[in-house]
């Protein structure tokens, strides 16, 4: 559940918050494609872009370790946002006049550092873009693409790279697991009013490569998780942000959970219990509980960085701890995103994203 949108840049933050995080709660605009439960997600085509929808993202996070056993987190995100419905530009949507707007975030987290960077690009001229087959996504020199660029080549293994002022990484992601459809067969509902997105994930990437922090290069390996989501209006009015978890329970099981915070306190909770074989079972609002345990002060914001999560139907009671409680994304549009580990009935690692604080 990655609801960051580039529209944030278009709208000043106070105005955006008034109508839901990053303007995502704004009324849908005419002319965009609608998210429908009967739309079937197909591979490999749906790895590619969906410009007829308003927003879309390719999101990778990884929990990594170096040879000495030190833990790291890593993030690579590409957002696409249509500033206008693709069809409304009157044929003038080519080149610089393309309504597609691209934004990328990259970050590296260690126990004592959190480094982030962002890039922006216009669609239409080739500076940024995504192709489905063979898969290739880029903004400038930040890339996420199939290592064998042939039309009939498989989606994975993939190459993932980005660089900021004081960090860089270059990873290979491989998997034999199929993608997992979130929500109900990829139709992910975000509110009781019916706001929804198309959503699938790949929680079972094996990752290895190099990580450079302030000039020091390290060999790292671990697990990576990819999210793909596209929508036109995924937040309901009155929803101000969310708390999202990607948790890996051993090698074969993963859990995606999120809580959409409602102004009226009646938060919307949902998630999926995921198997390596691609099975995915939706977790309803009444089967999950998420409780903030401890808040961290980040520039005057009280951000809940420690949580208790309970899924009684699966005998899950865990408490999560961040690798670095200051994993604040100091980008044009700010949020918290960083690696976590958890213990209790189960042990493991994962990622936490929190917006709207």
């Amino acid at each position: 559940m990655r609801l960051l949108a580039a529209l944030a840049l278009v709208l000043a933050a106070p105005a955006a918050l008034a109508q839901g995080y990053a303007g995502l709660g704004a009324e849908p605009q005419e002319g965009y494609a609608e998210v429908r439960p009967d739309r079937e997600i197909r591979f490999p085509e749906d790895h590619g872009p969906h410009p007829e929808f308003r927003i879309e993202w390719w999101y990778v996070t990884a929990n990594l370790e170096d040879a000495e056993g030190r833990a790291y987190g890593l993030q690579w995100t590409l957002f696409r946002s249509a500033l206008r419905p693709a069809s409304s530009t009157g044929g003038g949507g080519e080149g610089w006049a393309s309504p597609q707007f691209w934004m990328a975030h990259a970050a590296v987290t260690s126990a004592d550092q959190h480094l982030s960077a962002e890039r922006f690009a216009r669609g239409g001229i080739g500076q940024a873009g995504v192709a489905g087959v063979p898969f290739s996504a880029h903004l400038d020199d930040w890339r996420f693409e199939s290592t064998t660029p042939a039309p009939d080549a498989p989606f994975a293994p993939l190459h993932l790279s980005a660089r900021g002022e004081d960090f860089a990484y270059d990873l290979t992601l491989a998997t034999d697991a199929p993608p997992v459809l979130q929500g109900e067969a990829g139709y992910s509902v975000k509110s009781d009013l019916g706001q929804a997105s198309h959503y699938y994930s790949q929680p079972f990437f094996e990752a290895e490569g190099t990580l450079v922090i302030e000039g020091r290069e390290r060999e790292v390996r671990g697990r990576a998780w990819m999210d793909r989501e596209w929508s036109t209006q995924p937040l309901a009015p009155g929803q101000s942000g969310w708390d999202w978890f990607a948790l890996r329970f051993g090698d074969d099981t993963a859990v995606m959970l999120y809580r959409l915070r409602q102004d009226d306190g009646n938060h919307y909770l949902t998630g999926n219990w995921i198997g390596r074989d691609g099975r995915s079972e939706s977790l309803g609002r009444n089967t999950v509980s998420m409780t903030p345990l401890e808040r961290t002060d980040i520039d005057g914001r009280a951000v809940p960085t420690h949580w208790r999560i309970e899924i009684p139907s699966r005998d899950v009671t865990i408490e999560t701890v961040p690798l670095n409680a200051q994993s604040w994304m100091d980008t044009s549009f700010e949020y918290w995103e960083g690696p976590i580990r958890f213990a209790g009935s189960h042990e493991g690692v994962g990622y936490l994203e929190m917006t709207g604080y």
């Binding site: 000043a12 080739g126 500076q127």
Partner: protein
Amino acid sequence: MSRPASPAGVLRWTLATLLSHWWRSPIQLAALVVGLSVATALWSGVQALNAEARASYDRAAEAFGSRLPRLEPVGASRFDQSAYVALRRAGWPVTPVLEGTVSPDHAAPDPAPLRLIGIDPLTMPAGAGLVLDAPDAAEDDGENGDGFAEFILPPHRTYAAAETMRALGLGEGAVPRLADGPALPPLSLRPRLSPGLLVVDVGAAQTVLQAPDALSYLLIAPGGTAGLAAPKDVTDIPLRRSQPEGAGDLDRLTESFHMNLTAFGLLAFLVGLFIVNAAIGLAFEQRRTMFRTLRATGVSAGMLAGALGLEMVVLALGAGLLGLVGGYGVAAALLPDVAASLRGLYGADVPGSLGLRPGWWAAGLAMSVAGAMLAAGQSLWRAYTMPLLAAAGPQAWAEAQRRWLRRQGLVALGVALVALALPLTGLSGLMAGFGQLAGLLLAAALLLPVLLAGLLGAAERLAAPGLGRWFWADSRQQLPGLSLALMALLLALGVNIGVGTMVGSFRATFTHWLDDRLAAEVYFRAADTAEARRMTDWLEARDEVAAVLPNWRAEARLEGWPVDVYGFTDDPLYRTRWPLLAELPQVWDRIAAGEAALVSEQLAYRLDLAPGERIALPGAEGRLEAVVGGIYADYGNPKGQMRVDLALLLQHWPDVEQRAFGVRLDGAPAAPLVADMRETFGLGEDRLRDNETLKALSLRIFERTFVVTGALNTLTLGVAGIALLTSLVTLSGLRLPSLAPVWALGVTRRSLGLMELGKMLALALFTGLIAIPLGLGIAWMLVAVINVEAFGWRLPLTLFPLDWARLLALAVLTAGLAAALPLWRLARMAPARLVAVFASAR
């Protein structure tokens, strides 16, 4: 018995008593206020001009892309944007820019071409120097349809400053039509942009400039490009990296211009202080008995001086405020000309409207108060030290005057010696020049009464005994009272003659020099190397074209100073017409052989070079070394300039833009060729001009440069006239004891009046005559010292005696007008008042 009054009470009634004087002498009060406010007005007007210009240099120093290195196309002015995408994908932190010039259609109030830049706000780094803040940042959230999306998506927006919108005659939301090509996107106000600049999205710029997929250059964002692949490994389009031109140069280059302005402002201020000093001195004299009475009633000397000081501060603040309003008026009236000359000479964009800065108000008031205190210092001191009971002894004026004149003469001599010795103190350059000029002015002013006394004494000795001798003797007796006003007149006249001579000399030289310098009939600039080749081929095929002369320019820096290096080919045009100030034998042959270079006078002065010496400067490839073959005048150019053979230029700057040319014709008129070229190649006014148009343009810039000087000159002369008037008006009362005896001897009031007028005119005439050598001295200082230090060039001095005659007449007229009111009063004076003089001898 009443209680002793409190100090505040004493101060209050002391002040009330002192101020009552001004009620009885409104003309004196007017003189004081006018003098102080005019002085403040001229000074603060000049300061406002300087501040406005400096503020816009700061804006320019922050101007778009002026601080960032660039990637520029080689051998072309534009390149395909695929190179941009390739570089971004290779990790280069570059942002694309498409630049061009657009001409508003004829409906615009100011049809001057505007600079259009197309940018990509997404990749533009914070340090790029465009402040695109909306007038009210709180509204810049897309709600009002003026956000970021509106800028980058059709129909786009055109960002412009208020000045630019006024030049276009359009408001926000209006669509500016252009002389050719598509219209601009709707206007949107961005107050902090430079005037004359239009900012649009790069995509919109490609449409407006009809340059699809084209870019002018890429700005490289701060953050380093180490470890990235070189551009030539990323794209086939040849790009070269260039460092930003020193934007701080503008400050340095225009420094002399502003120093000249400041010097004039200060002069005007000082002349104004002469008036104030005269008025205060007189008021002191007239209140002498009042002071004594006050002291006798128990007011201490300190309290009296304090009350006088307070009175002065209050008057100075009032007059200062009036002066600031006037100063704002002066600055607002002159700013368009200052802006035009700064743009013409230095390419500096200064808005045509004036901002109000709080610091300026404070500084102006402070200057007014300080000036008033300076002018009142002597009077205050005398009030403080005045003995309570002084014997009103008879005035041995002749002895007193002799002492006074001797003192003046000695001080003048001292000042002159200090001025002459200034270069020995280590003070050098422009400051020393201005110091010497100030010394010259001060010494001349101080010497004036001595010279006048000498002249009048000589006249007195030559005159017949009786009324004639009295005429001269009485003129001499008036000297102390009038000397300050006459000094002001002398300074104003002297500076007028000096500056007039300099400007006149400059105009004569400049016009002649332009004729020689712009010897080729047509000048043009191609869009890129390919077009240049097509155009030269086309031109060489025409019968009337005798030669197509390349004039290619490379930029270099020498000792931190920007120097343009031009490459040219040997042509009879240069051999016969190009004006040289100094040269080696066979200079043109030696240049053609690549051994010698021509350097501009400024460059030669800066580097202390003479023909025959060697010059070396860093080229893009290797050091260019040559013998100085000749020195040429390059008036008005703030940069250094050097000219070498084309082959030598290309050897050291192989990538130089090969686009600028002159065309020499075989005597045929230029107009048909220019028209043909416009038609064939679609060249606009900015890229193709005949030499007549260029000359007219240069002369126009030149004239506007001196409009300000001229205006300040005239104002200074006006101030001197006011000084004279106030002195005469205030003196007229004091003159009665001198005139009454003569009247009593039988001279009619009418004759007395005419004689008074005659004395005044004689004094003014003598002052005017003394002003001529002073003016020539000033002109020489300006041309041979100030100009050389400030601009690096020297002019041949030309004399304009007709101007002197005009100024003499003006001086006499000023004096006549100034004397008119007191004389009118004298002629109509009731005889009883003249008689009363004898009844109440002072």
